[in-house]
Symmetry: C2
């Protein structure tokens, strides 16, 4: 973690601890520099990161203010699968259905930018929130990037493992979603009825160098899931 990323985390904690509300003003640059004993450029980079993450907004000539329309229990569509972080007050567990090495489908190969005879890890699991089904997830990982996975890893947060275990830097994601009706198989995994509503989310996750490493297809239990997006327009 770079210094400005660390300062960004500290600032987020500061906002949390001081129970700052939407529109509250942060201390001025000078004060933040002395409080964290860092340079002006580090504070500025930290604030830019927090702006991208939707934690603060800047008003030219007026200061930096807190953004805080977050609601409890909502899943961020802008974080890396995000559950562990945005749902941290809730108990998230996973049941692994399939973990194997296989050749990608055409669709997966296209999205991961690999050949049809390259190897991918295929993971299928059901995720639970407080013991209730949250989603059914199918993921394809480029095996030349994500070189190793096992059942224990994928029972927990795969993204924690990727960043901390494999030391990779996750950069950005493209996410596509639509609403539809559950088919029989999905309904059974989620404990709902076929024909019930679903949110279907497809994501392509990239490293900071632009390489796609994970193509995932997630079907959410509509009763358990709600989402938020914080956008700069």
């Amino acid at each position: 973690m770079l210094k400005y990323e660390h300062i960004a985390d500290e600032l987020e904690n500061y906002i949390e601890e001081h129970k700052m509300q939407q529109g509250d003003k942060l201390p001025v640059l000078q004060e933040l520099m002395s409080q964290f004993s860092v340079s002006k450029s580090t504070v500025i980079k930290a604030l830019e990161l927090l702006e991208k993450k939707g934690v603060v907004f800047q008003v030219r000539g007026s200061g930096i203010f807190v953004r805080r329309h977050k609601r409890k229990g909502y899943i961020s569509l802008l974080s890396n699968q995000g559950f562990k972080k945005t749902l941290e007050e809730f108990q998230i567990t996973s049941k692994v259905i399939v973990l194997d090495v296989r050749k990608p489908t055409k669709e997966a190969a296209l999205n991961l930018n690999v050949n049809l005879d390259d190897d991918v890890f295929y993971v299928k699991r059901v995720r639970f929130i407080q013991g209730q089904t949250l989603c059914l997830e199918e993921s394809y990982f480029n095996k030349s990037i994500i070189t190793y996975l096992n059942n224990e890893i994928i029972s927990e947060s795969i993204f924690n493992y990727i960043t901390e275990g494999l030391g990779l830097n996750i950069g950005f994601a493209d996410t596509f979603l639509h609403v539809d009706k559950l088919n029989e198989e999905e309904a059974e995994y989620l404990g709902l009825e076929a024909g019930d509503p679903k949110l279907y989310v497809e994501s392509i996750f990239h490293l900071t160098n632009g390489q796609p490493f994970d193509f995932s297809k997630v079907t959410y239990n509509y009763v358990q899931s709600q989402f938020f997006v914080q956008a700069i327009l």
Copy 2:
């Protein structure tokens, strides 16, 4: 529009015209500076804006690359209601059901940060894509910011009017969504059956100075709508 915003638009056109693909590298800074006859800092600000908008990604020490997993007909969850821009190949029309000045609901007052006896514009309309129902939309506008609306304005893009007509700067939005089943009224407006799936989206739009000006509640026709989000993680 500021100079760097203009350059950002030009760069986006450049990517479009040159049919650049995901991962294609942009010309180096020097070249962009001479091509658009602007300073280094203007190019850098333009590129930062494009990064925020999910158009490019930067790899430290290596260059700037095109991000382009966009799919045709998907609505961006990160643009200002976005239809006109992201669905520009499609014909979007609106049928106004209600336009009046009233007192806000408790929920609207809270989200717009106004008092219960302040005036708001209330707009209810159905939006159509290529003649098919796209969504049912209810919006509350803070009347002290959005001082005037009429039927003609709200039959078109309200956001165009807000930026170009009223000269206001739209800054950021907080959006909350979940999936549910349509009730009788929603189903009738959308031409679907009660009990069919819906995507329900609540947004609070803010000016660049942080003031919320629009609280909107949108129910999408699941058959017609699909969405994308491009996130920096």
